[in-house]
Amino acid sequence: MNLDVLCICGIVGLAAGWLGFRWGAAWLRRRSGGCAGGCGCATKVGKKG
């Protein structure tokens, strides 16, 4: 495998992995009642039953 292919595989793999990780983390954050992201707000208001 030459250097060109190696670089491409590394960069594309890194981009795909990072996107997957980011979307996974956002999904987990939303599941726990956190902000859906994008607005800079991280407020979580929970009420006592």
Binding site: D4, A36, G46, K47
Partner: protein, 717 residues
């Protein structure tokens, strides 16, 4: 000795738009969003405030409210926070009441109600500079004496005046623990309250606080009795009997509370306020013009047209500088990677070309937010809500829906969060459904690209801003009938009265306006450097691979006799067409053919579902793969102008005809292409049902309208 951990919790409470968040920022050094219209803060925010004597306190900024009769979710947050009913949060040790010094009587109504909570308090009379300008003089010592000796401070938070006094007053209140004296209820009302408290305790086993008993007697909302677990069958007769007792004392039970509080406040304010000669009435004079039934909407449209025309005009040169920088970078980088052709294409066509095409719109975004910031801070945006109320009331919503929709023009997510200010859950849902239609700043790059590449060159710069205003209006045009159908036929929302406090006009504060501009620019650049960058790399890979040498051989054989440049261009086009992206785009393209989209636009549309801005970088990549350093930023616009249908009934005609350009813009104006917005809608509506309905409805509507526009304009043109 200094105490690094906040030892006390201090809550900022007050009417909307009294400058609580500005005071919060001044006391904590934080940068929470502020605005010159009510309803900017919809959730609790906290920070640490140094009292200046070595003590640090946790300062909590709460949404504004007019009374403790909490009706909307944001008001509920305040009453819960003050009563210590928010999980994991401490009960505030001190309550700082922020009042507008120019409107003391109305602002103190909330203070008078809060007295029932029995918390040490500080009264901050904010906007003291404006009161001074209006010739108002306030005797703070006398007012303090009338309010049980609590500290009363004059301040002007946005100028930083009196902020140190507020710190000292909080320290004093925490030490002295002086309370606001509660209102003295007439005997019959006091007896009715006591009777009601006994009935609740007997039925639920929970003795309500004095404040809770008042809410049960004076409010019609079922929220509190339900939270107390008071059964409807038992509570209705008890509440009816208590209200009958109030009626016997000569008061209307639902009007008794403000009457008693205002009577007490008028006495407390006697001699406190002195009116001198001042500059009052400027706001009223300007409003006569800006809120005129006919002139008002015309001026609103004129202001919007002027704003977009200025955005295009002012951003022209900075955009050229960015494009020049991107081209220069490509020219420097490309020769360094001569031995690695794939990496060269990835870096120049994918990374620099794709992200550069997106970043070129940064000046327009910056200038747009500068104007929006000036309009918001000056107080004009609240007038816009007033003007729009007629339109909203027709569709069953009210002007209160305007603030979420206004926020939606920047980003749908804060817009959706602002729906918490709407009391009626059905009206809130209808507004939340309409907010994603608003033309957020993420739609701006595709509109700007289409206007710069086609509308401007074909019809002149005047049409650029007209189309821009029109595209921002398209979302509203569909949001209104959508809300109408929802409110009238699906949710059956009852008409809501609309009360909006119009803020006074003020000179926009450069610090706040520039800060907001900076925040939006930082978000835009950070998106370009993260999500857009990563997606661009994936799109490049899908548009580049697989590379079968047989494809090039076939094209070269068929193009024998043509110049080397033409042969090379055809080879690159053939490679992109047989790439994974090309194959996928061609497979899906028939669904978008009635909209006039070729496979490259189709790919851009599909890649934009997670985030709609991706369209620009995707087009940047698909139109430049293989072009390397030659593909400068102007190349994308030129390549789009040169693109022609290769075959079929439209063979040889431009792909980006006027019909296709308008259809593409309409599609992006209406389609639900933002993952975080769909997720926030689910969060705010308490489930995925309405988020899924919104996604399907907006996407289907976008497709239908794009088809309609393309077919209609094609025939007319």
């Amino acid at each position: 000795m200094s105490d690094p951990v906040p030892s006390l919790a201090v809550a900022l409470v007050g009417n909307p738009n009294t400058g609580k968040s500005t005071l919060f920022n001044a006391l904590t050094g934080l940068r929470q969003r502020v605005g010159n219209y009510p309803g900017v803060t919809v959730a609790r925010k906290s920070g640490t405030c140094d009292l200046g004597d070595g003590r640090k306190v946790e300062l909590i900024d709460l949404p504004g409210l007019y009374s403790l009769a909490a009706a909307s979710p944001d008001e509920q947050v305040v009453t819960d926070a003050l009563a210590g009913k928010i999980a994991g949060e401490r009960v505030p040790d001190v309550v700082v009441l922020v009042a507008d010094a120019t409107n003391l009587l109305r602002n103190l109504f909330l203070a008078s109600q809060l007295a029932e909570l029995g918390r040490p308090a500080v009264l901050v009379l904010n906007q003291a500079d404006v009161a001074r300008e209006q010739g108002l003089r306030i005797d703070t010592a006398l007012l303090s004496a009338r309010l049980g000796g609590i500290p009363v401070v004059l301040a002007s938070a946005w100028k930083g005046e009196g902020v140190a006094d507020v710190r000292r007053a909080i320290a004093r209140a925490a030490d002295e623990r002086r309370l606001l004296p509660p209102v003295a209820w007439p005997a019959n009302i006091a007896a009715a309250l006591a009777e009601l408290a006994r009935a609740v305790a007997a039925d639920t086993g929970h003795a309500p606080s004095a404040a809770e008993a008042q809410r049960l007697l004076f409010d019609t909302s079922p929220t509190l009795p339900e939270r107390l677990g008071w059964d409807k069958a038992r509570r209705d007769p008890a509440i009816r009997a208590a209200r009958e007792q109030v009626r016997r004392s000569g008061y209307n039970p639902l009007a008794a509370e403000p009457l008693v509080h205002y009577e007490r406040l008028r006495k407390a304010l006697a001699g406190v306020l002195t009116e001198g000669a001042g500059k009052a009435g400027r706001t009223a004079a300007v409003d006569r013009l800006l809120l005129h039934r006919v002139l008002g909407p015309v001026l609103f449209l004129g202001i919007m047209l002027g704003m977009f025309a200025s955005v295009f005009w002012l951003a022209k040169f900075p955009m050229q500088w960015i494009s020049g920088g991107v081209d220069g970078l490509k020219a420097v980088v490309a020769p360094l990677l001569d031995g690695l052709p794939m990496l060269q294409s990835l870096v120049t066509d994918g990374m620099i070309g794709g992200v550069g095409a997106f970043l070129a719109f940064l000046p327009q975004i910056l200038i747009l937010f500068l104007f929006v910031g000036i309009l918001e801070d000056s107080g004009y945006m609240a007038r816009a809500a007033f003007i729009m109320d007629r339109l909203f009331s027709w569709c069953g919503l009210n002007g209160k829906s305007f603030v979420p929709m206004l926020s939606g023009f920047a980003c749908a997510i804060p817009g959706l969060l602002s729906t918490r200010t709407i009391e009626d859950p059905k009206a809130r849902l209808a507004t939340a459904f309409a907010v994603p239609f608003m033309s957020c700043s993420a739609r701006f790059p595709i509109y700007a690209l289409m206007c710069a590449a086609f509308i401007g060159p074909l019809y002149g710069p005047g049409w650029e801003s007209a189309v821009m205003v029109g595209m921002h209006g398209v979302g509203l045009l569909f949001a209104v009938p959508t809300a109408f159908i929802l409110t009238r036929f699906v949710l059956k929302v009852k008409p809501q009265p609309f009360v909006l406090e119009l803020p006074r006009y003020q000179m926009p504060k450069p610090r706040d306006v520039l800060w907001r501009m900076w925040q939006n620019a930082a978000e835009f650049v950070s998106k370009a450097g993260t999500v857009i960058f990563a997606i661009t790399i994936i799109v490049w890979a899908l548009s580049y691979f697989p590379r079968d040498p047989a494809v090039a051989q076939r094209v070269r054989a068929a193009a024998a006799g043509e110049s080397a440049e033409v042969v090379q261009a055809r080879v690159q086009a053939a490679y992109v067409e047989q790439s994974w992206m090309g194959r996928f785009g061609k497979a899906v393209q028939p669904a978008f053919d009635p909209c006039g989209f070729d496979w490259k636009i189709t790919v851009g549309v599909l890649a934009s579902f997670p985030a709609r801005e991706v369209i620009v970088s995707t087009l940047g990549v698909t139109y430049s793969v293989g072009e390397g350093a030659k593909a400068d930023s102007a190349h994308l616009q030129q390549a789009m102008r040169d693109a022609k249908w290769p075959d079929g009934p439209r063979a040889g005609t431009p792909i980006f005809s006027l019909a296709a350009v308008l259809a593409l813009m309409v599609f992006f104006a209406l389609c639900s292409q933002c993952g975080p917005t769909v997720a926030t809608l689910a969060q705010e509506t308490g489930g995925w049902k309405w988020a899924a309905i919104s996604f399907v409805y907006m996407t289907a509507l976008a497709w239908l309208m794009a088809v309609g526009v393309y077919q209609l304009v094609s025939r007319l043109a």
